[in-house]
């Protein structure tokens, strides 16, 4: 029987959203590497920020693929629960949601529409701020154990094990790299099945309500079908309006600054191992 696309979406969003929020909150607390202060900073920022944009480069290694797949991505989020996640590169996808409906566009060609439950865990998972707050609020984040702190070049690397998190139970461990200024620059997640994700943050910014990305997000949300629409129940259709020049990134995407930092080499092996001295 088939899997459900929404459940595919959730894990990706979970990781990206967590990373995005971590990126926006870590500044200023890196000196002490204090986990509680880090979470506190996230919490404060989560309340303060109404909308943000995060650019990243993500590398994914999975047993199902013969090589590592690399994408550039952008997450644009606006409270209370609207977001647009776009990835381009080895895989091209756009995911747009208003918290009630999720639209997944494959390769600028065909789209799938799914309904979300208003108060369900699915929407919670798909909503980065709510997810984070949920984790902070229920002590989930504080339950992560920090097993190692290392200095790697000019970065500080924190290895955490989210072993108490039911939503991250397939994660073996995660490595968070912070710049000396306290910015989260990279997150590497090792999965229990041998898979690996590496996300390098190139930029994070709180954005204004007239930012082109926010404008585009709203435009895309307007294009979402009514949740009462029968097609909104697991249907798939061609995406006629997708092939536009500025479809993915209306504002210039920030190229990964040293994007290959920690990325894979041609042989598919990582150049540096976060959390471990070379």
């Amino acid at each position: 029987m088939a899997c459900k696309p929404l459940q595919i979406v959730r894990t990706s969003l979970l990781i990206v959203a967590t990373l995005a929020m971590a990126a926006c909150a870590a500044r200023g607390v890196i000196e002490s590497m204090d986990r509680d202060k880090l979470i506190e900073g996230m919490e404060k920022r989560a309340y303060l920020v109404d909308r943000f944009r995060a650019d990243f480069t993500q590398t994914r290694r999975k047993p199902a693929f013969a090589r590592d797949l690399v994408v550039q991505g952008r997450l644009v989020f606006e409270k209370p629960s609207s977001f647009r996640l776009t990835i381009i590169g080895d895989v091209n996808l756009e995911i747009v949601s208003d918290g009630k409906t999720v639209q997944v566009v494959h390769d600028l060609r065909d789209q799938e529409i799914h309904q979300m439950q208003g108060s369900s865990g699915l929407s919670r998972l798909a909503d980065p701020l709510v997810l984070l707050l949920d984790h902070v609020g229920n002590g989930g984040m504080r339950g992560y154990s920090i097993v190692q702190k290392e200095i790697e070049g000019e970065s500080l690397v924190l290895e955490i094990k989210p072993e108490n998190s039911a939503t991250l139970e397939l994660v073996q461990s995660a490595y968070l790299s912070f710049s000396q200024q306290g910015d989260l620059t990279k997150v590497t997640i090792m999965y229990k099945d041998g898979g690996m994700d590496e996300t390098v943050f190139t930029s994070w910014a709180a954005v204004a309500s007239d930012d082109p990305d926010i404008v585009l997000l709203r435009r895309r949300l307007e294009g979402l079908p009514d949740t009462a629409d029968p097609a909104a129940r697991g249907g798939r259709r061609e995406c006629a309006s997708c092939l536009k020049q500025d479809y993915f990134f209306p504002s210039p995407i920030h190229e990964a600054n040293g994007a290959q930092q920690g990325a894979v080499n041609n042989s598919g092996q990582r150049r540096s191992q976060p959390g471990k001295n070379n």
Binding site: C3, I8, A166, L170, A228
Partner: protein, 858 residues
């Protein structure tokens, strides 16, 4: 009247002459009655006394017999957070364990097992054979080079996103998205729930709540079996859960803090039954304390109270004996009749002993006093009892067999109470007269203030009476039956109802009140065709605002023959073209970045798809009554005589939960189904409750009218005094109107217990009124004031005793009982005022007129 007096004096003479023999005979008979009480078979079927003349009640019963009472027990598993991977082995093992419980007919814990290849192949075969035209075209599109390329591309994207190994495998095993396509067509069947769980368990969208639905092999109305079954579940489940937790592999730490609940119709009724059992004793104790308190307060002697209650206790024993003889089994409601008989019987003895004391106080001997009691108070007591008997006998005209039984037992009990009172009061008086002390019950409370209330402003009192009655009638016209059906039929604050509210919110689907659609056809082939039409209508309704969340029918298991033939033809052409498709698939797969292992899984799945498609062609065309999935079909299709019945289960959205919206949703659905060529009928527990309650108002007025006419007719016939008859109506009609008016003004919805209100108020009210009227008309030369001075103590005592007895019902957790308690309390309070104030005021005015007329004539 003369005959009545002759009979009364006959009884008095015999009882007075043979007091010990009389007492012995009654005590012996009562003892036999109490002994037989244990052998009375109280029906365990709550619906035993529910009329099945109503089509919806009959249909619901039939459907339960044919298809089982689906999901009448639901085991709710609530994890502290998302359950994680452990849910799979845990729920599977627990579900399988439940299947082994005795009394279980069916257990459902997942929509489908995605890992059961045989089940999946069967599902695909059913689907491919039953596709509609649109689905057929879509399937043909999937098996084209472009269709395959697009599916592989999308699956590659999905694999990039997903981290869950289980989901990865599901994607790899469905390279052409055939499974996804089938799944999307099933969305209509499982609705919003479908996104709940990747293993297709019946799980909430946040993966924290899972359901195991159990269909027992008995009717939930069978209280005994339900009770034993639910008790067994409560007792065994902790152990079973512990065993299952210990036996499965994986991270069982997530099972810590797991909560489980039982809910569903069987559990509702079980809990209500338990509440009923517990509170029955509490109500009896409270009623006994209140009534005893009043009697002790009035008579200031335990001996006097004991003497008062002897006839009622004996009458109760006699009633049980006759109930045993009359019925093989009785409805549980009927057992409540003894309290009513007890309350009304108090009235008789209080009046008899009250008059007896009055006569003794005049200096008469015991024998003379008793003769006067039977001469003056006897007819009123007998007439009052007769009217009570007639009022309750009117319940025998009810459409509900349980009510008919209730009416019969109450009227029989009251007749026996009258007989016991008339026989035992003179017998006891004769025996007590031999004692050295005065043990005769004596009222020690002064009622002078109450007995003179009517004198203050009789004209105003009389004028106010029609005004109050008119206002009450206006408010009473606003009465309607209570629309919250579970409030009427179940105890309040039943834990399982709270659970069902919780899961309904979690699942966004109304779990408490499923609705069933059924239709009968001559042959199964036609039935399947009709079912398709119904499915189509329901799908349209799901897309509109009708509020349907899910529906479930036989259509996913079978299809009409022409449809099957067209689909087999379409699938055959795909199979024939397979040799061209396979190289295209391999080439496309090679172009993508899948690992060798993933490629192999996808190739295997591709080959498996061919086997499924071939299976569609190889299998003979299945007739609707055979083929695979025969057991599943019995949940949706059954033979009834020469016809075939098809059942569709519909669940409304969580938002459709109030009575008006539910009825509106039913109405819309039936209207939409009018286009179907056969009549489609609604059934279900909610509809049964509505049918029962819907007839209540009409039933109330019908029985009320019959009761009033019978009571007044019999009074008129025996007493032959139209004016007295008209006057005796005043308290009865007035208190009935005031009761309904008060309930209407409070906006109280009426439950089925309202049917008992009319005869009780009529019986209780006319009894006291008769004493006032008959004594006034019979006692020549005695003023109304004197008569009220004599009658007010027993009237107040018996009315307050009865009112407090009924007030005890208000502590019940059952709305119907509470309603009955409050209604009768209001009715009796109104009756007391009407009997000791309004009625004497009328009598006083009549007396004044008579005196004026006499004076004028003189």
């Amino acid at each position: 009247m003369k005959l009545l007096l002759w009979m009364l004096h006959g009884i008095r003479r015999v009882a007075s002459a043979f007091p010990i023999a009389t007492l012995t005979v009654f005590i012996l008979l009562a003892a036999i009655g109490f002994y037989l009480m244990q052998f009375i078979d109280i029906s365990t079927d709550l619906l035993a006394g529910v009329d099945d003349k109503e089509a919806v009640i009959r249909l619901t019963r039939e459907n339960i017999d044919l298809f089982g009472e689906q999901d009448s027990v639901i085991l709710v598993l609530e994890f502290p957070g998302p359950a994680g991977e452990i849910r799979k082995p845990f729920i599977e093992a627990l579900g399988e364990s439940l299947k082994k419980f005795s009394g279980v007919r069916r257990v459902v814990y997942r929509f489908l097992d995605p890992e059961d290849e045989q089940q999946i192949a069967q599902l695909f075969t059913h689907f491919l054979r039953g596709m509609n035209q649109r689905e057929r075209q879509a399937i043909q599109g999937i098996f084209t080079p472009q269709g395959m390329a697009d599916a592989l591309r999308r699956n590659r994207n999905r694999l990039f996103l997903v981290q869950n190994p289980y989901l990865e495998r599901r994607i790899l095993e469905d390279p052409l998205e055939l499974g996804q396509f089938v799944a999307s067509s099933f969305t209509r069947r499982v609705g919003n729930i479908s996104i709940g769980d990747i293993y297709l368990f019946i799980g909430s969208p946040d993966s924290s709540v899972f359901l195991i639905q159990v269909t027992p092999d008995f009717h939930s109305a069978d209280v005994a079996k339900s009770r034993a079954f639910v008790d067994r579940l409560h007792e065994s489940l902790p152990r079973v859960i512990e065993q299952v937790s210990a036996s499965i592999e994986g991270d069982t730490s997530k099972l810590k803090g797991l909560k489980w609940y039982l809910t569903g119709k069987t559990v509702f009724q079980h809990e209500t039954d338990v509440v009923f059992d517990h509170e029955t004793l509490a109500i009896i104790v409270v009623a006994f304390l209140l009534v005893s308190g009043v009697l002790i307060f009035v008579y200031r002697s335990l001996t006097a109270v004991g003497i008062l209650v002897i006839p009622m206790v004996i009458a109760d024993g006699l009633t049980y004996g006759l109930v045993y003889i009359s019925y093989s089994h009785i409805n549980p409601v009927v057992m409540g009749s003894s309290a009513i008989v007890f309350g009304l019987g108090t009235d008789y003895v209080v009046h008899l002993w009250g008059k007896f004391r009055e006569e003794l106080n005049r200096g008469l001997s015991v024998a003379e006093a008793m003769t006067n009691v039977f001469q003056q108070a006897g007819p009123a007591v007998a007439m009052g009892a007769l009217t009570n008997v007639i009022a309750f006998a009117c319940l025998c005209f009810s459409d509900q067999p349980a009510m008919r039984q209730f009416g019969y037992v109450c009227s029989l009990g009251l007749a026996l109470t009258l007989l016991a009172s008339l026989c035992l009061v003179p017998a006891l008086a004769t025996l007590l007269a031999r004692a050295k002390r005065d043990y005769f019950p004596t009222s020690n409370v002064r009622f002078a203030y109450f007995s003179r209330l009517f004198l203050k402003n009789p004209r105003l009192v009389v004028a106010m009476c029609p005004v109050i009655v008119a206002i009450s009638v206006v408010f009473g016209l606003h009465l309607s039956y209570e629309k919250d059906l579970y409030k009427v039929f179940l105890a309040t604050q039943v834990p399982s109802m709270e659970v069902v509210q919780k899961i309904s919110q979690k699942f966004q689907s109304n779990f408490a009140q499923p609705t069933f659609l059924s239709f009968d056809v001559d042959d199964p082939e036609t039935g399947v065709l009709v079912q398709r039409q119904i499915d189509s209508v329901l799908e349209k309704l799901m897309e509109s605002e009708a509020g349907i969340s899910t529906f479930d029918s036989i259509s996913y298991l079978t299809a009409p023959r022409p449809v099957q033939e067209a689909n087999v033809k379409a699938v055959s052409s795909i199979v024939e073209n397979w040799s061209h498709l396979q190289p295209v698939f391999s080439a496309r797969l090679a172009m993508l970045d899948f690992s060798q292992q993933a490629n192999q899984v996808m190739m295997d799945s591709f080959d498996k798809t061919l086997r499924i498609l071939k299976g569609v062609n190889v299998l003979p065309l299945a007739d609707s009554t055979d083929g695979p999935g025969h057991v599943e079909r019995t949940w949706y299709q059954a033979k009834v005589g020469n016809k075939y019945r098809f059942l569709t289960k519909v669940r409304y959205a969580h938002s459709v939960n109030n009575p008006d919206r539910l009825m509106e949703a039913d109405r819309k659905m039936l209207k939409a189904l009018e286009e179907v060529p056969v009549p489609v009928r609604l059934s279900g527990t909610r509809q049964v409750m509505e049918a029962i309650l819907g007839s209540l108002v009409g039933e109330l007025f019908r029985l009320g009218l019959i009761g009033a006419l019978a009571v007044l007719g019999s009074f008129l016939l025996i007493y032959r005094n139209p004016l007295a008859t008209a006057l005796s109506i005043i308290p009865m009609a007035g208190s009935f109107c005031i009761t309904l008016g008060a309930l209407g003004a409070l906006g109280v919805g009426i439950p089925f217990s309202i049917i008992a209100v009319a005869p009780l108020i009529f019986g209780l009210c006319i009894d006291s009124a008769m004493h006032v009227v008959m004594r006034t008309f019979d006692a020549k030369g005695v003023s109304v004031e004197q008569i009220m001075k004599s009658l007010t103590p027993p009237i107040v005592t018996s009315t307050v005793t009865n009112a407090l007895g009924f007030l005890a019902l208000t502590i019940s957790q059952q709305y119907s009982m509470q309603f009955l308690g409050w209604a009768l309390f209001i009715g009796l309070a109104a009756n007391l005022l009407l009997t000791i104030v309004t009625l004497p005021a009328f009598m006083l005015l009549l007396e004044s007129r008579r005196k004026a007329r006499v004076a004028l004539g003189t």
